[in-house]
Amino acid sequence: MKHYSAFAVAREALRHHMGWERAWASPEPKKKYDVIIVGAGGHGLATAYYLGKNFGITNVAVLEKGWLGGGNTGRNTTIIRSNYLQDPSAAIYEKSRSLYETLSQDLNYNIMFSPRGLIMLAQTEHEVRGYLRTAHANALQGVSTEFISAARVKEIVPIINLDGPRYPVLGGLYQARGGTARHDAVAWGYARACSAMGMHILQKCEVTGISRENGRVTGVTTNRGDIGCDKLGIVVAGHSGHLADMAGFRLPIESVALQALVSEPIKPCMDCVVMANTVHGYMSQSDKGEMVIGGGTDGYNNYTQRGSFHHIEETVRALIETFPMVARLKMLRQWGGIVDVTGDRSPILSKTPVDGIFINCGWGTGGFKAIPGSGWGFAELMAKGHSPLCDEFGLDRFYQGRFIDESVAAGVAH
């Protein structure tokens, strides 16, 4: 792997940019790997990267049925935060956020991490109390957040309308080191680093079956032939239930479409991420100037990557009340991704009923922010059998009624 640097840009400029090499290789599959990860999205690639970097396991293949980072990694609204209420969530999301701080340097790939600050608006008395509670919990967890007044919100986000007719802004939960990053670059950076360690990234390689012997995984069947493995990591977000079905077990997961949309690019007007969970809309401005807007999930299971139109209407209605100036913006694009939602809105990082199969799923509507932390913890789980970051997120928590309840307790957009 050639090092990226200002010097490299200058050198290549003199050679008419003919000397750049491909960021990752596209090898033919081997007969067998120590570890196979299904899903070359952010979480899968991060898992492979930390398997190599932290545990020296490099005989790894990452299988992807489409193209690298083409699922939810390329479809999210790129928001990074760690202001969760429950301790296990705060631990893994804060680990993730702190890894994002230095990820560009670690990967030698500019992921454009922009800790521009993030506000969750409190627009009812209940939300005020809820966020005060979260701010106190975060203080105990070592996550830097604060509850700020409505006046301070207006100071940070001048385009906001505080006295909306239905839900006036009463304050907000502010995380100054929250923000955004370039989502594709996160996948590409991890992929490049994995490839440099000798791992195989196999795109257009769809898993169609999972082979087992005596309750233990032996490999996978793919459209590029059978591939053996000692350990299998399933990291496929919305399609987790489908893969679990191949392995013969069921998950506490429902897959639904979640939508997002972007406006035409405009001049910089908001250097902060704002989430309005009561009216359900959230917005940030990309470096290109587009307003990036997150919508709601569909009310029924589906795998269509589109989403229902009335959810766009709800989201846009909420945003126009909160930011009157966006009423005149044209929307450029709209798309959907399939998110894997658990009952307690917390992820699953776990062993499974089949020996050697591990699953990382259930990130639901908020997986992008967790990519480095999830990869870090899941790699440890796969390498050592347990991980302090993942232990609370086992599948057995449903059996034991030990939920990590983020769906009603914290300010989580879902």
Binding site: G241, H242, R250, N302, F398, Y399
Partner: protein, 109 residues
């Protein structure tokens, strides 16, 4: 956007008139049942990529519950039938088989 016909009142409407209420044809386990059975009933989801049986309620209409067979990939509605039905009727199964040959009711059982 789904267009549904309520089998209870016969009205056809789009999806905002209805509300989905989860997987249908569940075998329920209550107090005193084995932990495994309760866990499976409560949490394990079929979440299929294909034909899905689910409960819907005609919220902004007659208010009654019914069951719908729907394809989660194409969003095609195979049909709706009354909630007082223990298994999908034959014409619904035929409609699904026509689009998804080899499909079987309750692979999980």
């Amino acid at each position: 956007m789904l267009i549904l016909t309520c089998p209870c009142c016969g009205v056809t409407g789009e999806e905002t008139e209805f509300h989905q209420g989860g997987e249908a044809h569940l075998k329920r386990f209550g107090p005193g049942s084995a932990d495994d059975d309760f866990h499976t009933y409560m949490f394990a989801k079929e979440n299929p990529k294909g034909a899905h049986f689910e409960r819907w309620r005609h919220n902004n209409g007659c208010g009654k519950w019914f069951i719908m067979a729907r394809d989660t990939v194409t969003l095609e509605v195979y049909g709706t039938y009354p909630a007082q039905t223990f298994e999908p009727p034959q014409y619904i199964r035929d409609a699904i088989t026509a689009k998804r040959p080899g499909w079987a009711w309750r692979d999980f059982a």
